[in-house]
Amino acid sequence: MANDRLKKIVFDWYIYIVLVAFWIVSCTVSPFFRTMSTFSIIFVSAVPIALVGLGQTFVVLSRGFDLSVGVVASLATAIASVTMHWGIGPSIGLILLVSCAIGVINGLGVSKLKIDSFIMTLGMMFFLNGVTLLIRPSPGGFIPVNFKRALLYQVGEFPLIPVLILLLAAIVGILVLQKRKLGREIYAVGGDPESAKMSGVDVDRTRIKVFVVSAVSSACAGLFVSARIGSGNAEVGAPYLFDSFTAVFMGGTLVTGGVGGYKGTIASALIIASIGHILQFLGITIWYHFIVKGLLLAGVAGLQLFFVRRERT
């Protein structure tokens, strides 16, 4: 009995155990890792991953894919870099509005036109990539210092605002998915769309909402990135597409939908950011980052599926 409970705890918090173990090992092995500035960098770089991961978790749970998250983030940096001189507020408003529209279009295509989400968002990705390059052919533009300072605000070496953003994302993601009608309907749609429909869930509307959440949270990730790099860049969002999937799947959300949640995604975002930082710190070239991330995704997800399968037989 106690054994079963322990098993369940390990299973539920598996990815957090991996994260903490990883941190402990790194801290033991390398004195350079044991510094506040290391963790500061990790938290800051985890923010955009956690944000694109938030939207992607919603989409994957509802049995879909969103390939446009990275390019929406890029688009947000591009729009910010050309409109922030009007004022920060209007620029952010415009970005949120545009991302909402993108989400609605993705959602309508997937639900009403019944286009497979993979294809719909692939098309959206190419389309927006072109639009972003039109707005910002080369990196640059204007991002106000106030905006940068506010989003990256630190107390001493502690990145207060980025950590608050992470907490906020975690609270919103977990509460909406677990404790709101929308969240439960997302699980229903992802678990069994036919049954959800029979039970009176508006499947189409749920799908649209999911893509809106995804586009808006990706745009927020883009805003944060624009503060970090201090400019707009049409290519900067691209890696976040891979990171969003890595975070979602490593966090235990299943490709088939209906199983998983944001709790795992956000821990995975921290793992991805930590690994990125270590590799960078060790001076390993960026190409190896992809190799490590690929192995990590397959390894962690494979191990977890192994546990799930054992549980079920």
Binding site: R180, R184, S195, V201
Partner: protein, 501 residues
């Protein structure tokens, strides 16, 4: 006597078929109506139109005297107070029972913007009490048995306080004791003046609980029979079956010829053990049909799956015509002539979106190849032979299997395995979901095969089948064979006794 539903010359066409042909009838409050007909008679379509899942092509529906335009399920549920419990469960496996019951109105449970699980679960418990179920409603639906899931579905429908409740094949997967619970609930609703429509393939159930029986055949209303307890039940039964099939025949079983023939032992098991099986020993001789019976889930299906290499065997000996091959996987079993036919016909046996030709040919295709290429004319000939031998009703070999009736689908499955020349057939509930006519055809086909030397070991659940089809009958309980019956000595009471031990 108040009229609750009136249906007036309701019609529905699907590409190529008219599934409902100007059906007209009306239903009163406080009565239970049986809706019967063979597969394809139009029962499900009628229900789906009432629930707003399909739209009719003509005719009118009046509910409570008012003309109803039902465009979607939520409208049927909330505007017209009509609900349906379907055979295929509409529960979401990952969500808790409580969330499932109130899925479309979770926002009514908000407290400070978040779902109040405490209240949700209390309400769910209360809803389940009405169907006599006491379970942990916080657990995901996937944790529960089929019986419990059906009752959860029923509770979910009842929680919306419907005036009209449709049970569409809801009892098909249920144990008889649970069926009686469902009947109790139905009778209570009837007392409260609700209108119920009960659809079941098991006619005994329909006769037991319904006041009137609506018979559909080929999309036509054949008639409405009063199920009067004064009348001779056998004659009512005969009338209903006659109207359903268009002839006067009831369920006919082939003669049991197996025990007389005394063929060679085709399949023999000695002390087969596994996680689910305890020392199972049995023999199936050529010319026989042997059935595994018992309560549901006593290891009957698992025994078949173990013989077929789908489940691991821990110990024991399996012989096929005197040889003991190593069977570790389905491939090994097939190579040794053991063919397992799953009860999940559409999911595990057929490629529904492909044609009859491919579906029949696929299991034995390597027999008709040369240098790795299929000899098309030979393949076609072989498939055509099966289609005519099994009398599969299909316009052509190119017909998509999804468009065939259940009986013909099952014949396609049989055809697929017969082409591969089986030594023994393991069949799991071969007539599940089939109508009376198709059932009889399958019985005769299985008997014909056993006469030709391909014996059958079948899992049967329907009591009528258990008594009438097999030559010998093995009753299983908790993974063990506890009793054997051979042909004429069968006494139904003794048989049921052996189920419970």
């Amino acid at each position: 006597m108040t009229e609750m539903i009136k249906i007036e010359s309701l019609s529905k066409n699907f590409p190529g078929v008219q599934v409902l042909k100007r059906v007209t009838f009306s239903l009163e409050k406080g009565k239970i109506y049986g809706l019967v007909g063979e597969n394809g008679a139009g029962k499900s379509t009628l229900v789906k139109i009432l629930m707003g899942i399909h739209q009719s092509d003509g005719g009118e529906i009046y509910i409570g005297g008012e003309k109803a335009r039902i465009k979607e399920p939520s409208q049927a549920r909330y505007t017209y107070k009509m609900d349906t419990v379907f055979q295929e469960h509409a529960l979401i496996p990952q969500l808790s029972v409580a969330e499932n019951i109130f899925l479309d109105k979770l926002n009514e449970f908000y407290k400070k913007g978040l779902i109040d699980q405490g209240r949700l679960q209390n309400e769910a418990k209360r809803a389940l009490r009405e169907v006599g179920l006491d379970i942990d409603v916080a657990l995901p639906a996937s944790e529960f048995s089929e019986d419990e899931k059906s009752l959860i579905e029923l509770a979910k429908a009842l929680s919306r306080r419907p005036e009209i409740l449709i049970l569409d094949e809801m009892t098909a997967p249920l144990e008889s004791s649970v069926v009686n619970d469902v009947f109790e609930v139905m009778r209570n609703l009837k007392k409260k003046g609700k209108t119920l429509i009960f659809i079941s393939h098991r006619l005994e159930e329909v006769f037991k609980v319904c006041d009137e029986i609506i018979v559909l055949r080929d999309g036509n209303l054949e008639g409405i029979i009063l199920n009067d307890s004064q009348e001779d039940p056998l004659s009512i039964r005969k009338t209903v079956i006659g109207m359903m099939t268009g002839t006067e025949r009831g369920l006919s079983f082939p003669e049991k010829t197996g025990l007389k023939s005394k063929g060679e032992v085709a399949l023999s098991l000695r002390n087969v053990r596994s996680k689910w099986l305890k020392n199972v020993s049995l023999e199936v001789r050529q010319g026989e049909i042997v059935a595994l019976a018992g309560l549901r889930g006593q290891g009957q299906s698992r025994l078949l799956r173990t013989i077929a290499g789908l489940l691991p065997e821990e110990d024991g000996d399996i012989q096929i015509l005197g040889e003991s091959p190593k069977i570790k996987s389905p491939t090994d079993a097939i190579e040794n002539g053991i063919f397992y036919i799953s009860d999940k016909r559409d999911d595990e046996e057929l490629w529904l979106t492909h044609d009859v030709w491919l579906n029949i040919s696929v299991a034995s295709i390597t027999d008709r190849t040369q240098f790795g290429f299929i000899r098309r004319s030979e393949d076609k000939e072989a498939v055509e032979r099966m289609v005519s031998r099994l009398r599969i009703e299909t316009p052509s070999l190119a017909q998509i299997v999804r468009n065939l009736s259940g009986g013909n689908r099952q014949k396609v499955v049989l055809g697929k395995y017969l082409l591969a020349r089986p030594k023994v057939l393991l069949v799991d509930q071969p007539t599940m979901g089939l109508d009376v006519g198709a059932k009889a055809e399958i019985y005769h086909l299985l008997r014909g095969l056993s006469d030709e030397g391909i014996p059958t070991l079948a899992v049967l659940t329907d009591l009528e089948e258990v008594v009438n089809l097999p030559d010998r009958l093995l009753v299983m309980r908790e993974g063990e064979i506890v009793k054997e019956f051979s042909q004429e000595v069968m006494d139904e009471a003794e048989l049921l006794d052996s189920y419970y031990g």
